[in-house]
C-alpha cells in the first residue's frame, strides 16, 4: 500500500508555497519531512488531509485517485493526522475532542455511547502509556497533555473499526518533554511494524535521522533532496534546507557559540532582584539577574521552571515578597506594571497569547510600544510606525516582508520573530523568554540564540526557561536549576558542573533539606558578590 502526492502546486495570495511537489509514502515506513520555517510542510500535510485544495496535482492511494478537499474520504481511507496546531476545540472536554476526529460510538437509538467512547480513548491513551482527565475542558490542559490527546485521537481505531493506514505527524514533539518523546517514538516504531505508513515532521534533525528510513527536504516549497536516513548526515539536511553555503556555517545551533562572558565581567548592579516568588508549583524562589546577564532556567517537567517566566510577567497568578527592577520596587506582578518597568514576556510559540492573529505584522509589532508612537490626541504616527516596522522586518528577516501581512498566515518561525521584535521595541530591561527555539528551524534557531546573546551583550537582562539544555548552555552566563518547585542550584559558566551531565545531575537533586537551602543561599549570595 502506498500513498502518493503528485505534482502538487499551491499558491496563497499569488505567492507560490508549494511547487511541483511529488512525494510517496510506503506502508510500514517512517518518512521524515524537514524544511525551514515557511517551507510548506504544514501546507502539504493539510492538502493530504483535505483541508486545502491545491491549485494543481493529485493524490493517489495505491494508484487510485483520492478526491482532493474531502476530509471525510481521507478519514475513510485511513489517513490520520496530528496537525501542528493540534486542532482541538478549547472549550470541549478531552472526550468530546476525541470524538471530533475519531467519531462517536452510537447506542441503538443513535445517541452517543459515552462508555464505549471512554473505553476507546482509554485504550488509545494506553498505547501512549498516559492517562488524561477525560471530562476536563482542553483549555485547562498543559501543552504536553494537549499533544498527547491529539496523538491518541489520531492513532485510535475509528468507530467503524477502521484503523490508521497512514499517520502524519506535524512537529508532534515541539511541546513534549524527554520521556513523552521517547514514548511517542516507541509508538511510532510499533505502528510502523504494523505496516502503518508514517510521515514525521520535525525541526529536530537528529530525531528525524534516528527515527526515519527516508527523509525528504523542502526548501521554499520545492523538494531539494530525498535521502536514505541511514546514509544522510545532519550537514546534508541543513544544506538541502538552507542552501549549500548555509549548510557549512550552521551545521547545528551550538556551532554558533558566541564568546561567553564570565560572571566577573558583568556590571555590578543587579537589574532585577526577586525574593520569595511563589506561583503554582514554584515555592519561595529568590534570585537576581545582573544587567546584561543571560540566565537560563532548567528543570525536569513539573519542576516549576515552566511557570517561572509567566509568573514573573503576571500572566499567571503569583505572589512575590519583593521584586526590584533597577532598584525600583514593583507594586505587584501584573502585565501593565511589567510593561511600565520594561519587563517583556516572550512566550513559547506553542502557547496561545503571544500574537493577535487577525492583526497585521505592523499592528502586532507595535502593540506593546504603542505609547511611544502616539502623539497629540492619542493618534498613532503612521509614518513612524511603518518605518519602525520595516526596520524590524529587515533586522529579523521576517517573511513575507510586508508590514500589512496578517499574522494568522505566518509560519511558526516567523511568528516567533515577530513576537521577539514586538518586545524588543519596548527596549526591555528584562526579557523573559520561554522555549526560544521550539518549532523553529535549525537556521533560525541558531540565529535566534545568537540574537539572544547579542541582546544580553547590548545590556538587556535575559531569563530563558527551556527544556533543551542546548538552548542555554551555549549562551547563558548562569543556569538556575529547578526541582519540585524549588531552586536547587545555580551553576555559573565558569563552574565545574557547567556541562550537560553536570546540570542533568543537578536537576535530579532533591530540594528542601535544610543544609541544601543554606547552600543555595550561599550560592546565591556568592553569585551576587562575584558580580
Amino acid at each position: 500500500m502506498k500513498l502518493e502526492l503528485r505534482d502538487i502546486g499551491m499558491r496563497f495570495d499569488n505567492r507560490p508555497v508549494l511547487r511541483d511537489v511529488c512525494i510517496c509514502f510506503e506502508e510500514g515506513t517512517v518518512h521524515g519531512l524537514v524544511g525551514h520555517n515557511g517551507s510548506g510542510k504544514s501546507t502539504l500535510i493539510k492538502i493530504a488531509a483535505g483541508y486545502y485544495v491545491p491549485d494543481s496535482g493529485a493524490m493517489l492511494l495505491d494508484d487510485e485517485t483520492v478526491p482532493l478537499g474531502s476530509p471525510a474520504v481521507c478519514y475513510q481511507n485511513g489517513l490520520r493526522f496530528v496537525h501542528q496546531d493540534l486542532g482541538l476545540v478549547r472549550q470541549f472536554s478531552a472526550l468530546e475532542n476525541f470524538g471530533l476526529a475519531a467519531g462517536y460510538d452510537r447506542t441503538w437509538i443513535r445517541t452517543v455511547n459515552w462508555p464505549a467512547q471512554r473505553r476507546r480513548l482509554a485504550s488509545a491513551l494506553a498505547m501512549l502509556e498516559t492517562d488524561l482527565p477525560f471530562d476536563r475542558p482542553v483549555s485547562e490542559f498543559t501543552a504536553v497533555e494537549r499533544t498527547l490527546l491529539a496523538i491518541a485521537r489520531a492513532i485510535a481505531p475509528g468507530v467503524d473499526g477502521g484503523t490508521a493506514r497512514f499517520l502524519m505527524l506535524d512537529e508532534p514533539t515541539t511541546a513534549l518533554e524527554g520521556p513523552e518523546t521517547e514514548r511517542l517514538f516507541s509508538v511510532i516504531r510499533t505502528l510502523a511494524s504494523q505496516r502503518v505508513g508514517i510521515l514525521y515532521v520535525s525541526h529536530q534533525l537528529d530525531d528525524v535521522l534516528n527515527m526515519t528510513q527516508i527523509v525528504t527536504v523542502l526548501r521554499d516549497g520545492k523538494i531539494t533532496a530525498t535521502l536514505e536516513s541511514a546514509e544522510a548526515t545532519h550537514e546534508q539536511l541543513v544544506s538541502a534546507m538552507l542552501g549549500a553555503e548555509a549548510g557549512q556555517v550552521l551545521t547545528r545551533p551550538t556551532a554558533h557559540r558566541p564568546k561567553r562572558k564570565s560572571t566577573h565581567d558583568l556590571d555590578g548592579s543587579p537589574a532585577v532582584e526577586v525574593r520569595g516568588l511563589t506561583a503554582h508549583r514554584i515555592r519561595n524562589v529568590s534570585f537576581s539577574i545582573a544587567k546584561g546577564e543571560c540566565v537560563g532556567a532548567v528543570g525536569l517537567s513539573g519542576s516549576g521552571r515552566e511557570q517561572l517566566v509567566y509568573a514573573l510577567a503576571g500572566a499567571i497568578p503569583a505572589t512575590v515578597e519583593e521584586i526590584r527592577v533597577n532598584g525600583v520596587e514593583l507594586s505587584g506582578l501584573d502585565p501593565r506594571a511589567c510593561l511600565d518597568h520594561r519587563i517583556a514576556l516572550v512566550p513559547g510559540n506553542r502557547l496561545a497569547g503571544s500574537l493577535v492573529n487577525e492583526f497585521t505584522i505592523r499592528e502586532n509589532l507595535t502593540l506593546g510600544s504603542l505609547d511611544t508612537l502616539t502623539g497629540f490626541g492619542d493618534i498613532v504616527n503612521a509614518a513612524e510606525e511603518r518605518r519602525r516596522t520595516e526596520s524590524w522586518i529587515e533586522r529579523f528577516a521576517i517573511l513575507p516582508a510586508d508590514p500589512n501581512y496578517r499574522c494568522i498566515h505566518l509560519s511558526g518561525g516567523n511568528k516567533q520573530k515577530v513576537i521577539l521584535a514586538k518586545w524588543l521595541a519596548i527596549d526591555p530591561v528584562l526579557m523573559l523568554i520561554d522555549e526560544p527555539t521550539a518549532g523553529v528551524d535549525v537556521g533560525a534557531a541558531s540565529s535566534m540564540l545568537g540574537t539572544l546573546r547579542s541582546l544580553a551583550d547590548d545590556g538587556h537582562s535575559l531569563l530563558i526557561t527551556t527544556s533543551e539544555l542546548s538552548d542555554v548552555l551555549p549562551i547563558a552566563d548562569r543556569i538556575l536549576v529547578f526541582n519540585r518547585g524549588s531552586l536547587v542550584s545555580i551553576v555559573g559558566s565558569g563552574d565545574p558542573e557547567w556541562s550537560e551531565t553536570g546540570i542533568l545531575n543537578a536537576m535530579s537533586k532533591a530540594p528542601d533539606s535544610a543544609d541544601n537551602r543554606t547552600k543555595i543561599l550561599e550560592l546565591h549570595v556568592g553569585g551576587k558578590e562575584k558580580n
Binding site: 496563497f12 483541508y51 491545491p54 474531502s70 490520520r80 493540534l86 493577535v356 502593540l367 505609547d371 498613532v380
Partner: protein, 359 residues
C-alpha cells in the same frame, strides 16, 4: 510601483471589499428606472438621510463595545430612556430645548456607568448583563412616562431646534451622525485607543499581556455607546415630536444589522464606521425606495433580508465569511472547507472564527 498601486486599489474598491456599495448603487439604478419621477430626485435622498440618521447613530454607538469583544444590547433601551428623560424634563421642568438635550445625555451617561458596573465590575457576561440593564432601563422609561407619549413642549421649540432646522434640507441628526462617524473613524482606526480596542476584541489574553488595560477600554466603550445612543434617543424624540418608551427599542435590530454588515465592508472583519454608514444607507434606500414606488406592506422586510444576504455574500467570497461555493474555493484555497463533515484538521482558530461568523 504602479502595478502594486493598481492591485491595492482594485482590492480596496472591488466588490469583495465593498459589496454593499455595489448593491447600493444597483438599488439606486433599479429604483430610478422603475420610478424615474418619484425616486430619482433630491427629495428621496433627503428622506433617506434624515430618516435613517438616528438608526445610523445607534449602529455607530455599537462599534466600540463590539470592537472590544463585548455586546451592548441596551442601546435601544438607553435611547428610549434618554428620549423619555428629555421629554419629561421639557414637559415638567423647563421648556428650554437645551434642558431636554442635557437631561437626555446625563441619563445616558448614567446608563453607561451602570452598564460598566454590571459588565466589568460584577463581571457578568455582557450579553446577559446588558440585556438585563436594558430591560430595567425601558421599565423605568415606561414608569416615568406612565406608558403614555409625552408631547407637551416636545413638539414646540424643541422639535423645531433639534430636528427641523436644516441646511439644504439635511437636518441636525444627519450632521450629528456624520460627526460621530468621523470621531469613531479616528478613534478606532487612527488612535492608540482604537488599536488597543481591536486587540482586546480579537484576543483579550494577548492584549492583557501586552499591557493593555482591558477593563478601562471596555468601560470607555460602554460609556461611549450609551452616550451616543442617548443622543440618538433625544434626536428621535425631537423628530417624532413626542417622547414614547417604544421609540428606542425599535432601533436595536437595524442598528445591529448595520454594525455587522458594516464589519464585512472596507476592513474585512473589523467593525468600522464607514461600513456601518454604508450599511444604513443601503437599508434606508431600500425601504424608502419601496415606499416611493409603492411596494406592498410586507415588501420592506423581504427586502432587508435579501439585501443583507446579497451584500454580505458578495463580500465574504474573499474569505471572511462561511458563505462559499466550491468553485470559489478552488480559486481561493485559503478558504477552509466548511461544508465537509467535522474535519480533524480544522484548527481551533479556524473553528472559532467560523463559529463567530456563523453566530
Amino acid at each position: 510601483m504602479s502595478a502594486t498601486r493598481k492591485t491595492f486599489w482594485t482590492k480596496r474598491l472591488g466588490p469583495r471589499s465593498i459589496g454593499a456599495v455595489y448593491v447600493l448603487v444597483a438599488l439606486v439604478v433599479i429604483f430610478s428606472v422603475i420610478s424615474p419621477t418619484n425616486f430619482a430626485n433630491y427629495g428621496t435622498a433627503k428622506l433617506v438621510f434624515n430618516q435613517y440618521a438616528v438608526t445610523g447613530l445607534v449602529g455607530l454607538a455599537l462599534l466600540l463595545p463590539l470592537s472590544s469583544g463585548i455586546y451592548d444590547l441596551s442601546v435601544g433601551s438607553t435611547a428610549g430612556l434618554s428620549g423619555i428623560a428629555a421629554a419629561w424634563v421639557l414637559a415638567n421642568v423647563s421648556a428650554n430645548p437645551l434642558a431636554g438635550v442635557v437631561a437626555g445625555v446625563v441619563v445616558a451617561v448614567l446608563a453607561g456607568l451602570i452598564n460598566s458596573a454590571v459588565v466589568l465590575g460584577l463581571g457578568i457576561d455582557s450579553f446577559i448583563g446588558t440585556l438585563a440593564t436594558g430591560s430595567i432601563f425601558i421599565a423605568i422609561a415606561t414608569a416615568v412616562s406612565g406608558d403614555n407619549t409625552i408631547a407637551t413642549n416636545v413638539n414646540g421649540a424643541f422639535q423645531q431646534d433639534v430636528a427641523l432646522k436644516n441646511i439644504l434640507g439635511l437636518t441636525l441628526p444627519v450632521f450629528v451622525t456624520i460627526a460621530a462617524a468621523i470621531l469613531l473613524y479616528i478613534g478606532l482606526e487612527k488612535s492608540g485607543f482604537g488599536r488597543r480596542t481591536y486587540a482586546i476584541g480579537f484576543d483579550v489574553e494577548v492584549a492583557r499581556l501586552s499591557g493593555v488595560r482591558v477593563n478601562g477600554i471596555r468601560a470607555a466603550g460602554l460609556l461611549a455607546s450609551a452616550t451616543l445612543s442617548g443622543i440618538a434617543g433625544v434626536l428621535a424624540t425631537a423628530q417624532i415630536g413626542a417622547g414614547s418608551p417604544a421609540t428606542g427599542p425599535s432601533f436595536l435590530l437595524p442598528a445591529f444589522a448595520a454594525a455587522f454588515l458594516g464589519a464585512t465592508q472596507f476592513k474585512g472583519g473589523r467593525f468600522n464606521s464607514w461600513g456601518t454608514i454604508v450599511a444604513v444607507l443601503l437599508l434606508g434606500t431600500g425601504n424608502v425606495g419601496l415606499l416611493v414606488v409603492g411596494g406592498p406592506s410586507w415588501s420592506p422586510d423581504v427586502f432587508d433580508g435579501v439585501i443583507l444576504i446579497a451584500a454580505v455574500g458578495l463580500t465574504s467570497a474573499k474569505g471572511i465569511g462561511p458563505l462559499r461555493i466550491r468553485s470559489l474555493r478552488r480559486q481561493s484555497p485559503s478558504a477552509p472547507n466548511l461544508k465537509a463533515p467535522v474535519d480533524p484538521g480544522l484548527s481551533s482558530e479556524a473553528e472559532e472564527k467560523s463559529a463567530q461568523t456563523l453566530a
